[in-house]
């Protein structure tokens, strides 16, 4: 049985109603009912294969529920609000052959089209500034003239986070942001995520290192066998 829902006056930013996601005969999500309030940081926990990534992909609109409905930022057609969602997946979602800045400039062009009708998507200087700011925010050097394929795994993770932050999203979905990142850098990233929550963003973070977010998280969401089995405001003992 799901635990207590978050206490918030604001309307939920995500509403999942009986979401089932099947891959062939295998059901990755088996009837997820949940609401997530805005401006909070949720840490999603569970064993491998519990359905955490599928839940994030469904919220991001990359996977369609087999049954049930999901509403994100008030829209059931998630494509219509995708410019307000930042998604960091387990793979980097970056081109290995391009530098970090080149990658981000390309994605900035895709993201900002609705707001800037110029031939280049957004004005070149503005795009450059936004991309550089995103890279600096994750403590990387925007002038690093090296293709992403030659980055260390930790640098790639951070550049992937920069890409997710590029469109200044209202909702941030992060899948294993701390994997392969050294402890010091992971702590810096955790602090950054806490600051984003303080700025009013909503974050759903899938991680196997919940201890890093213990102080910043508002709620811990426990998934098992495709269902949300518990929601707690404190981390259970022994799950650091």
């Amino acid at each position: 049985m799901p635990g207590p829902h978050p206490i918030s006056d604001a309307l939920p930013i995500i509403i999942a109603d009986g979401v089932i996601k099947q891959f062939g005969r295998f059901a990755a999500l088996r009837g997820v009912n949940a609401e997530f309030a805005p401006g909070r940081l949720y840490v999603v926990l569970g064993d491998n294969g519990a359905g955490k990534t599928t839940l994030l992909r469904t919220i991001a609109g990359l996977a369609q529920p087999t049954r049930g409905t999901i509403s994100v930022l008030g829209a059931k057609e998630i494509k219509t609000v995708c410019s307000q969602i930042g998604y960091m997946a387990h793979p980097s979602l970056l081109y290995d052959e391009m530098t970090g800045l080149e990658n981000l400039r390309y994605f900035a062009g895709l993201e900002n089209l609705r707001y800037f009708a110029g031939l280049y998507g957004i004005h070149d200087d503005a795009a450059n500034f936004t991309c550089r700011e995103a890279i600096i925010s994750v403590k990387l050097d925007p002038d690093l003239n090296r293709p992403v394929g030659q980055y260390s795994q930790g640098m790639r993770q951070r550049m992937s986070l920069a890409r997710a932050l590029l469109n200044d999203p209202t909702l941030l979905l992060l899948d294993e942001p701390f994997s392969n990142v050294d402890f010091h850098s992971a702590q810096e990233m955790a602090t950054l995520l806490g600051q984003m929550r303080d700025q009013g963003k909503t974050l759903l973070v899938v991680t196997h290192q919940p201890g890093l977010l213990e102080s910043a998280a508002n709620e811990f969401v426990w998934i098992d066998s495709g269902k949300i089995v518990d929601r707690t405001s404190k981390l259970r003992a022994g799950t650091q």
Partner: protein, 224 residues
């Protein structure tokens, strides 16, 4: 405008990636070079015979070589799941499709421009008919190959053996276009008949399949 901006940005990105890796263009060039050399040794045709067989030989070589670049076109987007980032952006699916198709068109046209002098030298080719007609034939024929090729490469993207799947899907549907390209080229080289009918067939083929691909591509992109 935004549609064109995404197309332009994606095309520039693909050209840049290919320029840096040269994966597809090198493989295409070596493959075509092998075809030219091996067939010239195998047949040793006279100039007259060459005019009759060159149309088929040239286009089959380009078709097989195009498969290399078509297989590569989506492979880059699958690495690191970059396609998910595109799917999550507000950019239209068709701007991605057209950018990919134009990119492949440029790669194959470059290959044709480089290989044609070699074909002429090895097979002692000379056109008896109006040689300028080879330009629209090459343009329309190449577009016919790459527009369907880009589309079917996207379909075979999530299949287990996609490199085998692409030719299996593409070759049967390309038969009318191939017929048009080969017969039009042979007509120009031999000068025995007009190539107009085959050029018209290629125009019709290109229009129909470009529209069909544009109508269906979003479904393919969003498929899980």
């Amino acid at each position: 405008m935004s549609f064109l901006a995404v197309m332009r940005a994606t095309l520039a990105k693909d050209l840049r990636l290919e320029w840096r890796s040269k994966d597809a263009i090198n493989a295409m060039l070596f493959f075509s070079l092998l075809v030219v050399v091996i067939f010239s040794f195998a047949f040793e045709p006279t100039a007259e015979e060459s005019r009759k067989i060159a149309g088929g030989l040239v286009w089959v070589a380009f078709l097989f070589a195009a498969i290399v670049v078509l297989n590569q076109t989506w492979a880059r987007e699958l690495r690191n799941h970059v396609l998910d980032a595109y799917r999550m952006s507000p950019a239209s699916a068709n701007s991605l499709f057209l950018a990919k198709a134009f990119g492949n068109f440029i790669f194959v046209i470059v290959l044709e421009a480089l290989m044609t002098p070699l074909f002429i030298a090895f097979y002692r080719l000379g056109a008896i008919g109006p040689a300028w007609e080879l330009l629209p034939i090459a343009t329309l024929g190449t577009w016919a190959l790459v527009v369907n090729g880009t589309f079917f490469a996207a379909i075979s993207l999530r299949t287990r053996s996609r490199e085998v799947m692409l030719p299996l899907l593409l070759f049967p549907i390309s038969v009318p276009a191939l017929l048009g390209m080969v017969n039009a080229t042979t007509a120009v080289l031999t000068g025995e008949e007009s190539a107009r009918f085959w050029i018209t067939l290629l125009v019709a083929y290109d229009v129909v399949f470009t529209i069909a691909c544009l109508l269906l591509f979003e479904t393919i992109l969003e498929a899980e």
